[in-house]
């Protein structure tokens, strides 16, 4: 039997960085329901909708690095030759000499082409309409690079705005015109979505809140009208690198935000019993169902739920994974992808050295593989492409360390 989750986190009674006020809920709060095995099953808790809007300690301006340096770092031939028809995946990597880049790969996991980046990249996104891909610098990153596919064009480099940094993920609008990026308003400890206009050199044309702390991955709903954002709930600040500053008072949530207005549509805060469960990655099923994957910051010997799903307007439900699978995933799902055509959900865990495939209809485990340092996952022609820090991609060895995510270029 799985152990019950620890629920008793010491309340923070000591001094904190004062972080603002509480805003009233903007919309009726759905309830969090149907949590899975090993959690506070049956507990139905009203959501919070707390939005930090100001900070009393507005500390630390952020040192921006010169965007021109990144452009200068590109190979002289400039355009990233993504126009080979056999390139169906892209992923960030680290070369054996420690340098970073982005590569495209074939369905078989062979590298087609690659280019260098001046800093480590993390998540990527692709627009089948504009045929552009984007690679985001890893948090707390200050760059993103947009690559044109099918035509020779200089990559576009955007830098984070003053007082913001990227979290490593984003997505394009349905028409491919806009780019959305998860960002940190670190002085206010508030997640933001930066909006960039692809018709104007990806100039930053606006921003709106993610209505949570520490947003990470983000996906666009099938109708293009809603962003689904995984607010991991973890506070970070560039002055402290990647240190997680609030593990004893995290605020994970999933939010749906209207792309037209930036207004909050729904917010699903995790219940107190699961507040150390960081909601980090999302993908969308063929039926529009939102799948999300988590990383647990609580006691290592807990068996928290790690993956769940919901449709707009309904409460999220966790998949009741077998204990064996929860153990295999080591309380840490690094990436999630849906194979819409086959109705499958892929999960990877570098900490657990595991890749798991679920049936999207039933949540049942249909495949569990041991893959050392399993990193990225993306839908393949059949099943999933899984990469690893050790260099394997769909089983094919490469002399690079693949980063945590893979994007499928189209279809």
């Amino acid at each position: 039997m799985p152990r019950p989750l620890h629920t008793g986190c010491a309340p923070t009674t000591c001094g904190t960085v004062d972080r603002g006020t509480t805003a009233p809920p903007r919309s009726p709060s759905p309830l969090w329901g149907g949590v899975g095995e090993g959690s506070a099953a049956g507990t139905r808790l009203r959501l919070k909708n707390q939005i930090a809007t100001k900070t009393l300690i507005d500390r630390r301006s952020f040192v921006r690095m010169a965007g021109a340096a990144w452009v200068a770092a590109l190979e002289s031939r400039g355009a990233f030759a993504l126009n080979r028809t056999d390139a169906v995946f892209a992923s960030a990597f680290m070369a054996p000499d420690g340098r970073y880049g982005v590569a495209t790969l074939t369905e078989a996991g062979e590298i087609v082409d690659r280019t260098l980046l001046p800093a480590r990249a993390h998540g990527m996104a692709f627009s089948p309409v504009s045929r552009r891909a984007v690679a985001f610098a890893r948090r707390p990153g200050t760059y993103a690079m947009i690559l044109a596919i099918d035509r020779p064009a200089e990559p576009v480099v955007i830098t984070a705005a003053e007082g913001r940094h990227f979290f490593g993920h984003g997505c394009f609008s349905a028409d491919g015109r806009l780019l959305y990026a998860t960002e940190n308003d670190f002085a206010a400890n508030r997640g933001m979505v930066g909006v960039y206009d692809g018709t104007a050199g990806f100039a930053r044309i606006g921003e709106f809140p993610t209505y949570g702390i520490g947003p990470h991955d983000m996906a666009l709903s099938s109708d293009g009208r809603t962003l689904i954002i995984a607010n991991g709930g973890i506070e970070t600040h560039p002055d402290f690198g990647r240190t997680k500053l609030n593990l004893d008072h995290m605020e994970p949530s999933l939010t749906l935000v209207d792309t037209a207005t930036g207004a909050l549509v729904e917010k699903h805060a995790l219940p107190p019993a699961l507040r150390q469960l960081s909601t980090r990655h999302v993908d969308i099923g063929a039926d529009g169902r939102i799948w999300f994957a988590c990383q647990y910051e609580g006691p290592r010997n807990d068996l928290p739920p790690l993956v769940g799903h919901f449709a707009k307007g309904e409460a999220p439900t966790f998949v009741d994974l077998p204990e064996r699978t929860t153990l295999a995933l080591a309380n840490y799902v690094g990436a999630i992808a849906v194979n819409r055509r086959e109705g499958l959900v892929g999960l990877t865990s570098p900490k657990g050295n595991a890749a798991v495939t679920l049936d999207a209809k039933t949540g049942a485990v249909v495949r569990e593989e041991r893959i050392a340092d399993a990193a990225g996952v993306a839908a393949a022609a059949h099943g999933f492409a899984v990469s690893s820090y050790c260099g394997s991609f769909k089983g094919h060895p490469n002399a690079v360390a693949w980063d945590q995510h893979i994007v499928r270029l189209g279809g």
């Binding site: 004062d18 300690i57 630390r60 260098l116 001046p118 402290f240 690198g241 490469n398 002399a399 360390a401």
Partner: protein
């Protein structure tokens, strides 16, 4: 000296060749496996020979500081002010050795930010401290109400301003009464936090038990590999901290033969002249952890030289930091000491690489240790 450290992108203009990846496969190192026999002993020594002694020393030092602060308030004089400042410097040294432990109890209840709020680039914390002193805010002189105030007004940064900032000369006479009592409250707060850190680690059933026995029922480490990752993480993340958060903000290096735009007032502890002493203590703390825990024992026999390199770099860096003496603004204006700062910057980057890639790879944590820390 042309310092490329702060211009890493320049290096990247040497773009990688378009050679197929397969051509480089021969360079891949042999797979390494973590020495599971050595790991539990290393974790236990990290606790018993570094963490506990470090927090014990900090606890004693903060007690001495609280006492010296009390004496200063009761009998203000040049001598008691000197004694309080000296006790402050001692706490800075002890804290700098253990601030590298940014995990567990130090991260709970914002303890490490409460102990040292840094950096304070927009001087927001400083303004709060100045306002407290200007208004004579009695709630800041009371330990219970101080500890729930902003983290910026209750730690070493605030106390440094009290003891060394504008108006601190009043402390040696009777007119500094409120300022002194506020400083005493901060010192007592630091003593309390240090006591909490020590108690948390001394509890035989607490975090030290988890560190010493990784396993399926362990709340922190399910296996030895997870424990080794945490331990090496202290070293890697601390070197990153020194390089990116302590050195880079203050020292801009030399660009095209000219000094860059330094920011001496962004330096930690610049008012008390403890900037480089703190960096030195960071390096010495890292070395005390590395050797105290016997991390060399995790290396396979054919890779023990990596430990020698790490030790050499840590020792060299600590000594170099000691050579950058005097107020940091004066050091930044002196070519000789600038050259030493450049040396520290360059070798800190080298140390990071050796820990991250060489040591991490050799003990079986993968080709690039911090590459694999997920997200």
């Amino acid at each position: 000296m042309h310092l490329t450290l702060f211009l890493p992108f320049a290096l990247l203009s040497l773009a990688i060749s378009g050679a197929p990846a397969a051509a480089q496969e021969g360079e891949a190192p042999l797979p390494r496996v973590l020495d599971e026999a050595a790991l539990p002993g290393v974790m236990a020594r990290a606790v018993d020979d570094f963490i506990l002694p470090g927090y014990r020393a900090l606890s004693q030092s903060t007690t001495a500081l609280a006492e010296a602060s009390g004496t200063l308030c009761e009998t203000p004089s040049d001598a008691t002010l000197d004694a309080a400042r000296s006790a402050f410097t001692d706490v800075v040294g002890k804290w700098s050795a253990v601030e590298i432990i940014r995990l567990g109890p130090a991260l709970e209840q914002n303890r490490f930010e409460r102990f040292l709020f840094y950096p304070d680039r927009k001087s927001t914390g400083l303004k709060q401290v100045q306002a407290i002193i200007a208004k004579g805010d009695e709630s800041a002189a009371d330990i219970e109400s101080l500890r729930i105030k902003s983290v910026a007004v209750q730690g070493l940064g605030a106390l440094e301003f009290v003891l060394y900032g504008t108006g601190s000369e009043a402390l040696s006479g009777g007119e500094g009464d409120f300022r002194c009592r506020y400083g005493r409250a901060i010192a007592t707060n630091l003593e309390t936090i240090a006591g909490e850190l020590l108690a948390a680690w001394e509890n035989p059933d607490g975090i030290q038990a988890a560190w010493k026995k990784p396993g399926p029922d362990n709340p922190l480490f399910r296996d030895d590999r997870e424990a080794a990752t945490e331990l090496l993480g202290i070293l890697v993340h601390s070197v990153e901290m020194v390089k990116d958060q302590r050195l880079r903000p203050l020292y801009a290096g030399t660009i095209d033969g000219r000094p860059g735009r330094d920011n001496p007032k962004l330096a930690v502890y610049w008012r008390s002249g403890n900037t480089m002493a703190s960096l030195s203590a960071n390096f010495r703390g890292l070395q005390a952890l590395f050797n105290g825990a016997g991390m060399e024992n995790l290396l396979p026999a054919d890779s023990r030289s990596i430990a020698g390199s790490v030790n050499f770099l840590l020792k060299t860096l600590a000594r170099a930091a000691d050579r950058v003496d005097g107020p940091i603004d004066a050091a930044l204006a002196d070519d000789k000491r600038r050259a030493t700062l450049s040396f520290i910057a360059l070798n800190t980057a080298d140390l990071l690489d050796r820990l991250n890639r060489d040591f991490g790879g050799a003990i079986g944590l993968g080709a690039g240790f911090s590459f694999a820390d997920g997200d």
